[in-house]
């Protein structure tokens, strides 16, 4: 397991040899720091981010045939991050991301450059302030697969936005492109999901779903009819909603949920 810890302006790397990491000079003018990661062998990477007060750009290159799981936990801060992924032939990316920050703006660009490259994304967030996530997914090679799942619960003063755009050009056949976004909005604030599929090819499987709403009143009634309070019912439903698909930071996410629905 490799670990990258970002705290304040410090970036610490625990490298087991399966990755190459280089940290770029911080740009004083733009206040942007960059981290370049080359994944050489099958591995897991944990990224723990807290109280960072600079903008951060991640460049992650996954080499041919390599499988990588990236588990990221962002907390206690305001973040403007950019991620650029480059996936070579037969490579595999599984990204699980948990956000419990304040204001968050993220731009994620996924380049599926090699045939049969596969990218699976699972983002879970509890939004309390402004959070905006943009995804651009480019299927640049044949038989590539993307599955982008964004789930958020919007509470307190939260405003949450997911924008996901997938691109398949003419001639890039056999791709499988999936987007699923759901926001449980517990506030009166507006939340937005913009799912876009830009496809100029017939031989493609494409799915997208987008849903903004609250928990179903019948679900709450069912749980409460067994003696569970409304708050505890919301806690259970939030866990059911957000914990799906999360493995590494599961207990951390449970603790975060307990913090807001105690």
């Amino acid at each position: 397991m490799n670990k990258i810890t970002v705290y304040g302006e410090d970036i610490k790397i625990e490298n087991k040899g399966e990755i190459e990491v280089s940290i770029g000079e911080a740009s004083k003018f733009l206040n942007v720091q960059s981290v370049k990661i080359k994944v050489l062998e099958d591995t897991d990477i944990v990224i723990d981010v807290s109280e960072v007060d600079i903008k951060l750009d991640f460049y992650i290159n996954i080499l041919k045939g390599v499988r990588v799981n990236i588990y990221e936990y962002k907390h206690d801060g305001e973040y403007k991050f950019q991620y650029k992924y480059y996936l070579e032939e037969d490579s595999y990316l599984n990204s699980q991301k948990i956000n419990d920050g304040k204001k968050i703006k993220e731009m994620t660009v996924i380049n599926l450059n090699g045939e049969n490259a596969k990218a699976y994304f699972n983002l879970k967030t509890i939004s309390k302030y402004d959070e905006k996530y943009n995804f651009l997914v480019y299927h640049n090679a044949k038989n590539t697969v993307s599955n982008i799942i964004n789930n958020g619960v919007n509470i307190l003063d939260g405003i949450l936005e997911f924008n996901v755009s997938g691109f398949v050009s003419n001639g890039i056949t056999g791709c499988d492109i999936n987007q699923s976004a759901r926001i449980i909005n517990m506030t009166k604030n507006n939340c937005i999901i913009k799912p876009n599929l830009f496809i100029d090819e017939n031989d493609v499987v494409a799915n997208h779903s987008a849903l903004i709403g609250t928990f179903l009143p019948d679900e709450i009634f069912y749980l409460m009819s067994r003696g569970i309070s409304r708050k505890e019912s919301e806690n259970l439903l939030t866990k059911g909603f957000l914990l799906r698909g999360i493995t590494y930071y599961k207990e951390t996410l449970e603790e975060i949920i307990n913090k807001y629905w105690r």
Binding site: E219, L223, S225, R226, G227, I228, S233, L236, L237
Partner: protein
């Protein structure tokens, strides 16, 4: 002795009156069966007693042991000992039966909650009800058949040990064997704890297993005829129209 009293209750949903001046009293150890044609307000009655806020009480009272509970939150009613076994229990993906039941039992028992006896009870009940033992780790009713959902309701009843049991068409979706199993499990629970039971059903067949003391026929939101078990047989033979007439609706 626990007493659930419904007095002169009128209930509307989306501007339409469903229950009209409905009155009924159920005591510990009594089994009441409510029968009647579709749309007469039988399910509404059970949901209103449980506190579903989709239904508005226009007038009348629901009281439990002398205390009016019209405005009491759903979970507080459950903690008083009222349980509703639903006609179509919700499936909730992601929330496991184990987490759900643990939370429910913790809400009821507080610090007296014992995890080990909970696990033992669930294990015993899944065997008794012929349920897959792994169901406890699955989402609530997630992927369950109609019959499995009903069995899950009976399992929950046995875990939570309520004093007032409302069963809304617990027989629907059950095959012959499951009907017998569920019916006998309800009677086992009745013999053990002597709760007050209010049973909503369309068919006499459930009453082969759960023996009611009283049968009430509902029409147009109120009880129009009461009797003993013979009344259910008569309904089965002759139909509602002949016995209580056509609905006013």
């Amino acid at each position: 002795m626990n007493i659930l009293n419904i007095d002169n209750l009128t209930v509307e949903v989306e501007g339409k009156i469903i229950l009209k001046d409905f009155s009924l009293e159920i005591k510990s150890g009594e089994i009441h069966a409510i029968m009647g044609p579709n749309g007469t307000g039988k399910s509404t009655l059970t949901k209103v007693i449980m506190g579903d806020d989709n239904y508005k009480i226009v007038k009348g009272t629901i009281s439990y042991n002398g205390k009016v509970i019209n405005d009491m939150p759903v979970n507080e009613r459950a903690k008083l000992g009222i349980f509703l076994g639903m006609q179509m229990p919700m499936a909730i993906e992601g929330v496991t039966n184990a987490d759900f039941l643990r939370s429910a039992l913790r809400a009821k028992e507080g610090d007296n909650f014992k995890l080990l006896s909970f696990i033992r009870d669930v294990d015993k009940l899944t065997k008794k009800l012929h349920m897959d033992s792994e169901m406890i780790h699955r989402g609530i009713n997630d992927g369950f058949s109609g019959g499995e959902r009903k069995k899950n309701e009976i399992l929950q009843m046995n875990i939570l040990k309520p004093d007032v049991v409302l069963l809304d068409e617990i027989d629907s979706g059950l095959d012959v064997d499951s009907l017998k199993l569920v019916g006998e499990s309800v009677m086992d629970y009745y013999k053990e704890r002597k709760p007050a039971i209010l049973l909503v059903t369309h068919y006499q067949r459930l009453l082969d297993y759960i023996k009611p003391d009283f049968i009430h026929i509902m029409k147009d939101g109120r009880i129009v005829l009461s009797g003993d078990k013979k009344l259910a047989s008569k309904i089965e033979e002759e139909g509602y129209d002949k016995i209580v007439g056509m609905s006013d609706e």
